[in-house]
């Protein structure tokens, strides 16, 4: 399934500055694997060596938080990658 992925500002260095990219996959794991193919290194910024979502990152499918990578992604969904921001 194809979806839209909205990339947090601090990770846009991986996507050549793009805030929104297309993604493919039926689960969050597949979508992130697809992103990694095209934007090497981006998955490691979100997911640690144990496959857990890093504690300063949050992933949402549409408006709902995904606590792990098994979350289903349907065609037309938007995956939001949210990062803790420090600026004030």
């Amino acid at each position: 399934m194809s979806c839209t992925v909205r990339i947090a500002s601090p990770l846009q260095s991986y996507t050549a500055g793009a805030a929104r990219v297309d993604g493919r996959g039926d689960t969050l794991a597949e979508v992130l694997g697809d992103l990694e193919q095209r934007f090497p290194g981006i998955r490691f910024r979100m997911i640690d060596e144990q496959g857990r979502i890093r504690p300063h990152m949050r992933l949402f499918v549409n408006t709902d938080e995904a606590r792990d990578l098994t979350a289903a992604v349907h065609g037309g969904d938007t995956v939001h990658v949210i990062c803790a921001l420090s600026g004030g």
Partner: protein
């Protein structure tokens, strides 16, 4: 707390609102709000809360007004350069509304003082510019039972969330752990000047709603704002039962100064080099490692270490192969955040034991060579 004739005239537009009226305005007059960080977010939040008649406003900031602040920190004018922000802000707010009391706290919030300071206020607005302060303030608010309106910004993007004790998740439920250095700050990444104006006024809006009891607060919801697309998004966030501070079995029972370094902040295999340690390495001559400066080109051009190669972070994924796998490179940036991310990326790409210059070139300038110009 009744309103004087002068106050009734000043707040007439609020009094005309049925939802606020005299009762709501009196609540505002009785309210004590503290703003942590008199910066991009704190400026508009403070101005609007002062104008709205918030009776006691505290301003916490230990920095001085720098000329680079004036692009967004609208609490200050050019005449305030070099003044303490807390004091310059107090004077500006007092001029805006002499009916209120403004308290300046020109100090750095620490575990040792945060509880006592926040305890004097009913509500906290966090516009600080570092993650360690965000967690310190969040934890203190949870422990004290104070509502907190927290916001943060980066480049063209912002986020805001409200915590009300017993009514939803706290900031640590949203992001259980993060360390400064994992995310570039405004100085490194830049920020659209008007961006904190949007987020800071949202914080003031939330504060006024909580004080007067009108509307629906932004609890259990994270609101994000993308200025380039002019788009707001809202996400449901739930309280974590395993939250370290507001969860069912909290492990944080007192505010603490700093997050323990996490594995993700300093992955195994990354060496940490102090400026002095790097100087010693470079003095070794023939065995000196390659230096990779990951700042933007214009920063590099302002000043860099001799022999440093410039590969900006934005180009690193594509150019990582230029770095020999066994060369044990040293990654360098302005303050050590971007270069730590570069180390992580290099590790992932098979570069053996990359090193990070801790404190970046600012640290180098402070400890080794004060003549180095650092953009």
């Amino acid at each position: 707390m009744t309103l004087s004739a002068l106050e009734r005239a000043r707040y007439q537009r609020h009094l005309s609102l049925q939802e606020i009226g005299a009762a709501g305005q009196e609540k505002l007059k009785a309210a004590r709000v503290v703003i942590v960080g008199a910066g991009g977010l704190g400026s508009p939040a403070a101005l609007y809360l002062a104008a709205a008649g918030c009776g006691t406003l505290g301003l916490v900031d230990f920095d001085r007004v720098d000329v680079s602040n004036l692009q967004r920190q609208v609490l200050f004018d050019t005449a305030a350069l070099e003044q303490m922000k807390a004091e310059a802000g107090r004077a500006r707010l007092a001029a805006l509304n002499p009916e209120i009391r403004v308290v300046s706290h020109a100090l750095e919030l620490k575990a040792a003082n945060v509880r006592a300071l926040l305890a004097d206020y009913d509500l906290v607005v966090d516009g600080s510019d570092r993650l360690s302060t965000r967690y310190l303030v969040n934890d203190a608010c949870v422990l004290l039972g104070r509502p907190l309106v927290s916001a943060a910004i980066h480049r063209f993007e912002g986020q805001v969330m409200t915590y009300v004790p017993g009514r939803g998740p706290c900031y640590r439920c949203l992001f259980p752990q993060a360390s400064d250095g994992m995310v570039a700050n405004c100085a490194e990444a830049g920020v659209l000047g008007v961006l904190p104006g949007v987020l800071g006024t949202l914080q003031a809006t939330e504060a006024i709603k909580l004080i007067t009891g009108v509307g629906t607060p932004l609890t259990g919801r994270l609101l994000t704002y993308d200025a380039l697309e002019l788009r707001f998004n809202e996400f449901r966030v739930e309280r974590r039962r395993d939250c370290a501070v507001c969860g069912d079995a909290p492990t944080i029972t007192e505010p603490r100064d700093r997050e323990a370094p996490s594995a993700s902040a300093a992955p195994d295999g990354v060496r940490r080099l102090t400026p002095q340690a790097l100087r010693a390495l470079l003095a070794a001559g023939a065995t000196a490692p390659p230096l990779i400066d990951v700042r933007e080109r214009w920063e590099y051009d302002t000043g860099h270490l001799p022999g440093a190669v410039n590969i900006p972070m934005s180009e690193l994924p594509q150019r990582i192969a230029e770095i020999p796998r066994a060369s044990q490179p040293v990654f360098i940036c302005r303050s050590g955040g971007r270069s730590m991310r570069a180390c992580t990326m290099a590790l992932k790409s098979g570069v053996a034991t990359p090193a990070n210059l801790e404190g970046g070139l600012l640290g180098w300038a402070a400890d080794v060579d004060p003549t180095l110009p650092v953009a």
